[in-house]
């Protein structure tokens, strides 16, 4: 690469062959690319006059210089005075054009005539025939896409082509696919979006379906118990709270200890709420040992009912408290010595009736759309699975010798 032709090393290089990645003088260019049907297809273009190592991309009319993309951006980018220079795209050629034809495509460029060239001209009448008409049609779009600045495209190329004897003239091939690719990319993204959207919906549905499917028994039980238990507690706690806020729960001391015998879930709930208020004063007061103990155990019940899945654990604890379990004393005393931390859960329990009813409604709605039949989620995966090799109904790696005996444990897997 450089100022001298890569082939002869003799003359200054003028054109650049993209396929060979070589800078060549005109005569070597002619020689090399006429040898071969394949080499004739190579596309050559002018060299950038600034760096002399890359193919020229545009010709600046103001500065009268052909520039590659880098030099063009560097020279015309920063200063505003330069950025408005009119630029003209440089076309490339393939085949074996004569110098006359070359000067016609590069009308701005006066080519030096070397002595050997004119001799070659007559010999090489090998011109490819087809001519690309698309060039000028999409050149403006290419320029606007790549530069976003005012670029003048010479239209007189059209007339010159008619005069020329039909060598192929291609514009810079690198940029030709660009607008097409943009369209393709845009098109493909557009087409792919509607495909993906319906698919993404299904996983959401299927997850819920699966979840409901597997947990149906547990969920039903939990909900039934929950309505029964939690509804009652809500009523109680709402009443209590209305009466004066949380402090009222702790203010009243003398809820009857008789309720703590836990005749049923309802009774236990009511008593537990009532007995929580007795805790603080009970610690300070020397109340009867029995009531204190039952208070403590019931307060444990009160804590646990705040959780959604507490139905089963709640029934377990009611049993404990009715048995008068002394072992809980030690543990519960640890809990109660500190400042009772149950205030925040207390407020949360009364409010979520709205969210809970929403959730239940949603569950009921989704229950209607459940589908337990065999469902194929991805048709493409089914297609792949159908063509896969199977031995005794199981997928196998193609090519392995499968003498399949499921009872034989000597297999490595």
């Amino acid at each position: 690469m450089g100022y001298i032709c890569d082939f002869c090393g003799d003359q200054p290089s003028l054109v650049y062959c993209r396929s060979d990645a070589a800078c060549l003088c005109l005569s070597c260019d002619r020689n090399v690319h006429s040898a071969n049907a394949l080499s004739k297809r190579h596309s050559r273009t002018l060299l950038c006059e600034r760096c002399n190592s890359q193919p020229a991309f545009v010709r600046c009319a103001e500065e009268k210089v052909s520039l590659c993309q880098n030099c063009d951006w560097m020279g015309h980018d920063a200063s505003t005075s330069n950025s408005t220079h009119k630029r003209q795209t440089i076309n490339s050629y393939s085949g074996c054009p004569s110098s006359g034809e070359l000067s016609s495509i590069w009308s701005f460029f006066s080519q030096p005539d070397s002595a050997g060239e004119s001799a070659c001209e007559q010999e090489l009448g090998l011109m490819s025939i087809s001519e690309n008409i698309e060039n000028t049609s999409w050149d403006p779009t290419v320029n606007t896409i790549s530069h976003n600045i005012a670029v003048v495209v010479e239209v007189n190329d059209d007339c010159n082509v008619d005069k020329g004897s039909g060598w192929t003239r291609t514009s810079i091939p690198e940029h030709r696919p660009a607008p097409q690719l943009l369209d393709q990319a845009a098109g493909s993204t557009y087409t792919s979006l509607p495909k993906f959207c319906p698919q993404t919906k299904y996983p959401g549905l299927s997850e819920d379906d699966l979840y409901d499917d597997f947990n149906i028994d547990e969920v039903d039980l939990n909900l039934e118990n929950y309505e029964e238990l939690f509804g009652v507690t809500l009523n109680h706690s709402e009443e209590l709270l209305e009466n004066g806020g949380i402090d009222s729960l702790f203010g009243t001391k003398d809820m009857s200890a008789a309720d703590s015998t836990c005749q049923g879930a309802v009774a236990a709930e009511g008593s537990s709420i009532g007995l929580v208020n007795a805790i603080q004063p009970a610690c300070s007061n020397a109340a009867s040992a029995d009531s204190v103990m039952s208070n403590k155990t019931d307060s444990i019940l009160y804590f646990t009912t705040k959780h959604a899945h507490s139905s089963l654990s709640f029934s377990g604890l009611t049993g404990e408290s009715s048995a008068g379990d002394y072992q809980d004393c030690g543990a519960s005393s640890m809990l109660l010595m500190g400042e009772p931390p149950w205030c925040p859960p207390c407020t949360e329990s009364s409010i979520p009736s709205a969210t809970r009813s929403d959730a239940v409604m949603r569950y009921k709605e989704k229950k209607k759309t459940r589908k337990f039949e065999k469902r194929v989620r991805y048709a493409s995966r089914k297609a792949r699975a159908d063509v896969r090799k199977r031995v005794k109904g199981r997928f196998v790696k193609a090519g392995d010798a499968y003498d399949y005996d499921p009872l034989n444990q000597s297999r490595s897997c």
């Binding site: 890569d6 070589a22 090399v32 071969n36 049907a37 394949l38 080499s39 190579h42």
Partner: protein, 75 residues
């Protein structure tokens, strides 16, 4: 079914020249690339025989290019 040489269109192609964008048989490859020192710099890659390429174990269709030695499907 193998690729046919782009130059002579009579023999099966065994190399592909990226610079020339052409698949060539051995004779044409010599003819094209030995006459010229510039052409001799072209990088050429060999084209494999379609029956020699290992196929994907799963779909048996596309040529496979990754191997997982020692992989055993879990039980």
């Amino acid at each position: 079914m193998r690729t046919i040489c782009d130059a002579c269109e009579s023999a099966a192609a065994i190399v592909f020249c990226a610079a020339d964008e052409a698949a060539l048989c051995g004779a044409c490859d010599e003819k094209v690339h030995l006459c010229n020192k510039l052409a001799g710099r072209h990088v050429r890659v060999g084209l494999a025989n379609p029956s020699d390429v290992p196929r994907c174990d799963i779909c048996e269709n596309a040529p496979g290019n990754m191997q997982f030695p020692g992989y055993k499907p879990g039980k």
